[in-house]
Amino acid sequence: MISFTIKRFFGAVLTLFIVCTLTFFLMNIVPGGPFLSEKTSQQTLDRMNEKYGLDLPIHEQYINYMNRLLHGDLGISYKRQGFTVNEIIAEKFPVSAKLGIIAVIWSIFSGVILGTAAAMNRNKLLDRAIMFISTIGISVPGFILGTLLIYLFAEMLGWVSATDALGSPKQYILPVITLSMQSMSYIARLIRSTILDVIDSDFIKTAKAKGVSRIRIIYKHIMRNALIPLVTYVGPMTAFIITGGFYVERIFNIPGLGDYFVRSVETRDYPLIMGLTIFLALLVIVVNFIVDILYRVVDPRIKLQ
């Protein structure tokens, strides 16, 4: 376990280094720049570049950046004047994370229940209804669902506000549904098919023959086995939902990191692009690490190496 953690740590450092370096150079290859606008004169451009050290040769900029990064300083945002990148992440990540975690919990919770209910009622009406909904849930992209929900509940019915993002608990309902619909549907289908695989196996028949109660069979024998593919899916899904709510944040006007990520690229806000990329890479690494640990908890036969 300790050697696993150490190995993973060095792996993570290497991954982060590669991510930093690649992003830094790719970002600079893309034409355009943070201070270019319809009206900036070349003089202004030169002066602004000088102020932010962008007039230096690219390798010097890289060394300067990495040097600051080692001290935990992600620099200042060019397009949010007066804010450092660290401040922006500290302020915006909790918003994305809170919404994301609620969506993750909701998709696992509802996905597992729906999947189990479908499997237990195989080929009956309930099963078909759940499968129908989950097929739609997987195939309708979030930005369409989100727009539709806003139109219905904010614009037509006026139940929720279109602008007051996450201002009150009920404001969470639409973004959480939008964010979790796809993964919930996927989990429901995953759980259903895993249960159906397990349900016909010999050890379940044995358990039934022994007179083990239905609840206990589901909980102790079936779910335990169904969890392994679930954990495999939930790991990347969590990282994706927490960091990947770009369009959902834009649609619901949620001031989270996702929207900043898109904007930073559009406006060539170099320090913000770097900061967010590094932060998200770190997040994915941490989530993957947790997933690996969880594998071992779920299935003791798996060895961490």
């Binding site: 606008s37 900036t40 070349q42 202004t44 002066r47 004047q81 007066g82 007051d164 006007n253 559009e266």
Partner: protein
């Protein structure tokens, strides 16, 4: 005194210009409601106008007057700050603000402002000429990194040299002679300097506040000290900026809203939803696709804007180096279709590069005085285009290379590009390849001249035609097509070196004539500002430069 009369005259004519611009809006947009703003009903009491909620953009880059370069930032600044001049709250014309009088030297080069005795910052400290000296130097100082340093600095003695770092900032031609006397030495005569000085980058900030808190001083309402009609009550990034009347402002008795919330939203579609659910009272721009429904509800408004949507030709590349080719391409375009169908009447047909709403020495519209360089008769234009192309050696488009038309990625610009390409094919028999680039990439490509024909646009910074024509000076930084004609430069310089408005305007008319007869660019449409505003909201107005004024707004 003479100056005051001039200012007053200008103010009147600004109003006329605004109304004139809107009048044209009406012709092209029969169903649209036009006008500066709905006429106010019973004048409400100061501070009794209720909480006005407005949308103008997402979270601003900055609300620091010297560092701002955006139109939405300027809207917030004209509420929170005030300069030597201010925009009249009813019609956006220019009037004296913090200055109570101005004395102009005989050569027109020294402007001495006497400040009012009753002007105060929101924390009660007096506003002094020293604040102005500090702020104007801060604007031009290369260390500040202000985006408008050159554009604004070049009017002031040594301004250009300071921005280049050749001369220390202390030698900039501004000086506080005492607490209430601010002397500005200009780099050359500038008869329209009040139009420049009313620009929000010239509004003062407080030295002690900026120095203690850095560039982020404005992000915290506690350190947000301003001298305008309003003061900041709270600022939350990505949420809103709330301002309330500033009790220390001398004219606070005329400020109507109880408070204004500038709500930051991601785009106009979200703003539209918010508008429909009553969460904002006014928003700009209105999403084009929703205009019909807004019009039905009397919630759609158009106000003139001083800007032009045009095409740049790369004049250094054949065949676009030939004025006849440029003429043919320009005249073959159906501008009415672009403005009315593609842009759904949120644009006006352009007949020259300087749009409607600019005022000349007599207070008349510069465009009306100069006439149309591009006829509104499209059928006649088509014939003229075909003749010009034949004369250039490409009868019926024979032998003409495929045009590469470049625009920045956007559904609207793409639709415009398609319409233009179709006109060129139908009228001239020329094929066009459409190339789109993401905004940042496009800016760079266009700047370095990596295009044949490219979409372009320019919104003027002050109400003077030179603000548009300056683009086309030889070697100018925004002259993307590298248009160059010594005669144009000669006329332009003549206008820049005279303090006599009549001489200046004549020179600018001449310069425009040279440019347009060279077909140095293809003006297509004039910009208009589109608003969605609740019919209940009264008393708001807008400056043709793009800033909305809510000082007198009430519900």
């Amino acid at each position: 005194m003479k100056k005051r009369i001039l200012a007053l005259t200008l103010a009147c004519f600004c109003l006329i210009a605004v109304l004139a611009g809107c009048g044209s809006g009406e012709t092209s947009d029969p169903g649209g409601e036009t006008g500066t703003s709905p006429t106010a009903g019973a004048p409400p009491v100061a501070g009794g106008g209720g909480d006005i909620k407005g949308y103008f953009a997402s979270s601003p880059e900055t609300v620091d007057p010297q560092l701002n370069s955006s139109v939405d930032g300027a809207t917030y600044i004209v509420h929170l700050f005030q300069g030597l001049y201010r925009f009249d709250w009813t019609d956006g014309s220019v009037e004296l603000g913090d200055a109570e009088s101005v004395d102009i030297s005989a050569d027109g080069l020294t402007w001495t402002f006497t400040l009012r005795s009753d002007i105060k910052w929101s924390d009660g400290e007096p506003v002094t000429a020293y604040d102005y000296e500090y702020s104007w130097k801060r604007l031009v100082d290369p260390a500040s990194g202000a985006p408008y340093a050159e554009d604004c600095g070049l009017f002031i003695l040594n301004g250009e040299e300071v921005t280049l770092g050749d001369v220390p900032v202390d030698e900039l031609g501004v000086k506080a002679l005492d607490e209430r006397t601010f002397e500005v030495k200009l780099s050359g005569p500038c008869a329209f300097f009040e139009q420049v000085a009313v620009f929000p980058t010239f509004y003062p900030v407080r030295k002690d506040i900026v120095e203690a808190n850095g560039d982020g001083w404005w992000t915290n309402a506690a350190t947000f000290v301003s001298n305008g009609p309003f003061k900041a009550e709270s600022f939350q990034m990505d949420d809103k900026l709330v301002v309330v009347p500033n009790d220390n402002y001398y004219d606070v008795g005329r400020v109507v809203p109880t408070s204004i919330s500038f709500v930051f939203l991601a785009d106009e579609d979200i703003a539209y939803t918010a508008f429909r659910s009553g969460e904002i009272d006014i928003g700009a721009p209105a999403p084009a696709s929703e205009i019909p429904s807004l019009e039905r509800d009397g919630a759609f408004h158009l106000i003139a804007e001083l800007g032009t949507y045009y095409l740049s030709y790369n004049t250094e590349v054949a065949p676009y180096d030939n004025p006849l080719v440029r003429k043919a391409l320009s005249l073959a375009i159906d501008r009415e279709y672009l403005a009315d169908s593609v842009f759904e009447s949120t644009m006006l047909v352009a007949t020259s590069i300087v749009g409607e709403g600019f005022i000349d020495e007599n207070g008349n519209d510069f465009r009306t005085a100069g006439g149309d360089y591009i006829s509104r008769d499209y059928e006649a234009n088509k014939i003229a285009a075909q003749e010009a192309l034949a004369e250039a050696g490409f009868p019926g488009g024979e032998g003409f290379p495929v045009i590469e038309y470049m625009y920045n990625t956007s559904a609207r610009h793409e639709a415009a590009a398609e319409a233009i390409a179709r006109d060129w094919e139908d009228v001239l028999g020329i094929r066009t390849v459409l190339v789109n680039q993401e905004w940042g990439v496009f800016l760079e490509t266009r700047r370095v001249g990596g295009f044949e024909v490219a979409r372009n646009g320019w919104i003027s910074d002050w109400n003077d035609p030179s603000s548009m024509l300056t683009i086309f000076r030889s070697g100018g930084g925004n002259n993307d097509g590298n248009y160059s004609n010594p005669l144009f430069d000669q006329y332009f310089n003549e206008s820049a070196s005279s303090s006599d408005q009549a001489v200046r305007m004549r020179a600018l008319h001449n310069a425009e004539k040279v440019l347009m007869e060279d077909w140095g660019c293809a003006p297509l449409m004039y910009y208009i500002q589109s608003f969605m505003a609740s019919p209940d909201l009264q008393g708001w107005s807008a400056v043709p430069l793009g800033y909305t004024l809510l000082h007198l707004a009430h519900k």
